[in-house]
Amino acid sequence: MANSKKRIPTNHIVGFLLSLVMTIVAAWAALQSDLPVMWIIIGIMALAVLQAGVQLFMFMHVTESASGNGHVPWNMMFHGFALAAIVVAGSLFTMSFGFSHDHGDNGGNEQHHEQHQEESGY
């Protein structure tokens, strides 16, 4: 604590600004832009990966290899991934198996979506 008092934490400030910018761009893409839906999704995904990278490298010590007894950051990240896998795969498993509503055909999906919105008037 004491020795970091004087230094300006450039890394953190840059990381903070970067994550703000990426968040704003993502929000803009979703709310304001008129890009095709597929591009919006791809763009947001890409931003999400970058965002995670910024967090990990600029704030969360992934670069520090070991603390005391073992590679703690990687260890915890592994658990995080395992949980994320359960959440995502588990949701897909329970929410899509055995139901018979038609989400299968990707072609019509986009149109379908737009139609819905018009009908319901939201």
Binding site: A2, H79, L83, G98, Y122
Partner: protein, 647 residues
């Protein structure tokens, strides 16, 4: 919006509640002023970062919440036993079962256990505080503000009424307009942040701050259960946080995550909720298992049978608890394969649980049992909990669950596990560690009265509900004047009042013991039968806990320390102790975030922004906080210890 539109009106019960809340508030303010206690309150409690005091505040709040949730329960029981009386209307009934469930799980069971962990875990591992004392205070105030926010809902704005599970689309903006559901979302969000922070805090504390020599497999079993629970918290709570946030955005800002219109997926809420919700029930049962293990070992005067089997079964339960959530919505419409997978994983949980039951029995086997009040709670737990577990396995059979689901059979099941498990454990733990916290024991004679009233009341209340369920009585129903159901409902209500009396006696016992109990002279309160480090400290525990931290290289280290005449005051080796300073900032920061949440509840965005800015300012202040605490001098430690030990 003017005040009249804000306050809930139209019901004499609520007017009564308003008047009594008003009177109690005035009385508290008056007493604090009259006895000039404001400074004391601020200096000793609102600004404290001492884990023992924070723990006491958790437990006090939890007892108040138990009272509130208990009043809700009695009102429901009156309605169900006398359905023709018109005691509650349907809206009021819906609000009451919602607040009852939410308060009992989120604001009673968890804080009670977290309170005990706060006080006991650092003492058990030979630490002087939590790893992050400031964060610990922050967690408490987050919980407290969340709980208060949730609790004012019934007089201001109206309570949530979509059940503690808050299923969409019912809980969405279209079908539940108004602030009610927002109270649920913001109250849980705020206190959830606190819980998550506590999970991290305890994890670090246990992993990094153990006494020298103490390996993980030397830790007392309650500390183990806390560690495992912290992992569940850290992995499960983010799911709740996200689900709550999505629903909040749905309700306040008009997005369509869980709506029926606009391609929303209402069932995704149930899915996410139970991905958190099932681990949550293990968050409240594993610490309970830990408490019972401690109590049973102490009063059977033996080392816990099968220590490592106990630890491993907890770890396995924790892993499995993330793989069973679908058993809460077998009837949602997923295919037979999905249901079968989760049916099997659900039943698997019964295996490690069974291992634990047999280990407790084996600990008791051929031991000289001392039937103290804490032990009575533990002994009552075993058979009662088995009834809950066995019916759980019945519910876990997907095909059968189509019959049981959402009937009183389910209600009986989870009350058998939650009350006989968690609530009995809270009482057992409080009685057991009471001398450590307050310097005197709870009166045993009165404690036994409370115990018998509560336990008998519990079985009279909930056992008939299994049969009500089998007779087809659904849960969350307020008109029950079906002839076949009436007798059992009346019996059940009688039992509920028995529990109420038991609780009242318990609370009276707090007062009675404060006035009349003998003050403790040794730290090892239970006839010298303490086995773990918390009993090695003096009573009352000095604020720095341990003058010198002993070297530990076995389970139950205090047993040997006593034989060898060692204490936690190794006079020649006393060194200055580094302690954190008290600070009022956690309280103020969370008050601001509480204000922001209140703003969001009523969708007054300007107020939310004001609160949020206040919170952020305090976070920024925290980053410039270079207060590194202070040192307790060797002379002071020696003086304190000599006095406490009568040297």
């Amino acid at each position: 919006m003017n005040i009249k539109a804000l306050l809930v009106d139209g019901d004499p019960l609520i007017y009564g509640a308003m008047v009594s809340i008003g009177l109690v508030t005035v009385a508290i303010l008056f007493l604090l002023t009259y006895f000039k206690k404001w400074g004391w309150l601020w200096r000793e409690w609102l600004t404290t970062v001492d884990h023992k005091k924070i723990g006491i505040m958790y437990i006090l709040s939890a007892l108040v919440m138990l009272f509130r949730g208990g009043m809700d329960a009695m009102m429901m029981r009156v309605q169900l036993a006398f359905p023709d009386l018109g005691f509650l209307d349907s809206q009021h009934y819906n609000e009451i079962f919602t607040t009852h469930g939410t308060i009992m799980i989120i604001f009673m069971a968890m804080p009670f256990l977290i309170g005990l962990m706060n006080i006991i875990v650092p003492l058990q591992i030979g630490a002087r505080d939590f790893a992050f004392p400031y964060l610990n205070a922050l967690s408490f105030w987050a919980f407290f503000m969340g709980a208060m926010l949730f609790n004012i809902s019934f007089v201001i704005g109206g309570s949530p009424d979509a059940g503690w599970t808050s299923y969409t689309p019912l809980s969405g903006a279209a079908m539940s307009p108004g602030p009610g559901q927002n109270f649920y979302l913001m109250g849980l969000q705020l206190s959830g942040i606190g819980t998550l922070a506590t999970g991290i805090n305890l994890m670090v504390t246990i992993l990094k701050m153990r006494a020298p020599g103490m390996k993980l497999f030397h830790m007392p079993i309650f500390t183990w259960s806390t560690l495992v629970t912290s992992f569940i918290i850290v992995f499960a709570f983010p799911i709740l946080t996200i689900a709550l946030a999505l629903l909040t955005i749905d309700r306040i800002f008009g997005s369509q995550f869980f709506t029926l219109t606009g391609e929303g997926l209402p069932m995704m809420w149930a899915n996410l909720f139970w991905m958190w919700g099932h681990p949550e029930v293990y968050i409240v049962i594993l610490p309970a298992f830990g408490i019972f293990s401690e109590v049973i070992a102490t009063f059977a005067k033996k080392r816990l049978f099968g220590y490592s089997a106990m630890v491993w079964s907890m770890i396995i339960i924790a892993l499995l608890s993330f793989l069973v959530w679908v058993h809460h919505f077998f009837t949602m419409g997923a295919g037979a394969f999905v249901n079968s997978v989760f049916s099997v994983s659900t039943m698997l949980i019964a295996v490690p649980t069974g291992v634990k039951i047999f280990n407790w029995l084996a600990t008791l086997y051929k031991s000289k049992i001392e039937f103290s009040v804490a032990m009575l709670w533990a002994l009552a737990f075993i058979p009662s909990f088995i009834l809950g577990g066995v019916t759980g396995v019945m519910l876990g059979m997907a095909a059968a669950d189509f019959q049981f689901h959402n009937s009183y059979f389910l209600i009986a099941h989870f009350h058998y596990v939650l009350i006989a498990g968690t609530v009995f454990a809270c009482f057992a733990g409080l009685v057991y560690w009471y001398p450590k916290m307050f310097g005197h024991k709870m009166n045993e004679r009165i404690g036994k009265w409370a115990f018998w009233f509560f336990v008998i009341g519990f079985h009279v209340c909930f056992f008939p509900q299994y049969f009500l369920g089998l007779d087809g009585m659904p849960r969350r129903l307020f008109i029950t004047n079906v002839v076949e159901w009436l007798p059992l409902n009346v019996i059940s209500t009688v039992g509920a009042f028995g529990m109420g009396i038991g609780f009242a006696i318990f609370v009276y016992n707090v007062y009675y013991s404060y006035r009349h109990s003998e003050r403790e002279t040794t730290g090892d309160s239970w006839n010298g039968n303490g086995r773990t480090l918390e009993w090695a400290t003096t009573t009352p525990v000095p604020y720095y806990n341990f003058a010198t931290v002993p070297h530990v290289d076995e389970i139950d280290p205090y047993v040997r320390m006593k034989k060898e005449g060692k204490t936690t005051f190794d006079e020649p080796n006393v060194k200055p102790i580094h302690m954190p300073s008290y600070t009022g900032r956690p309280f103020i920061m969370m008050a601001f975030l509480g204000l922001a949440s209140f703003g969001l509840v009523f969708e007054w965005i300007w107020l939310a922004i004001v609160g949020l800015i206040g919170g952020i300012i305090f976070m920024i202040l925290r980053t410039y906080d270079y207060d590194e605490g202070y040192y307790v001098s060797v002379e002071e430690i020696k003086r304190t210890e000599r006095k406490a030990r009568g040297l």
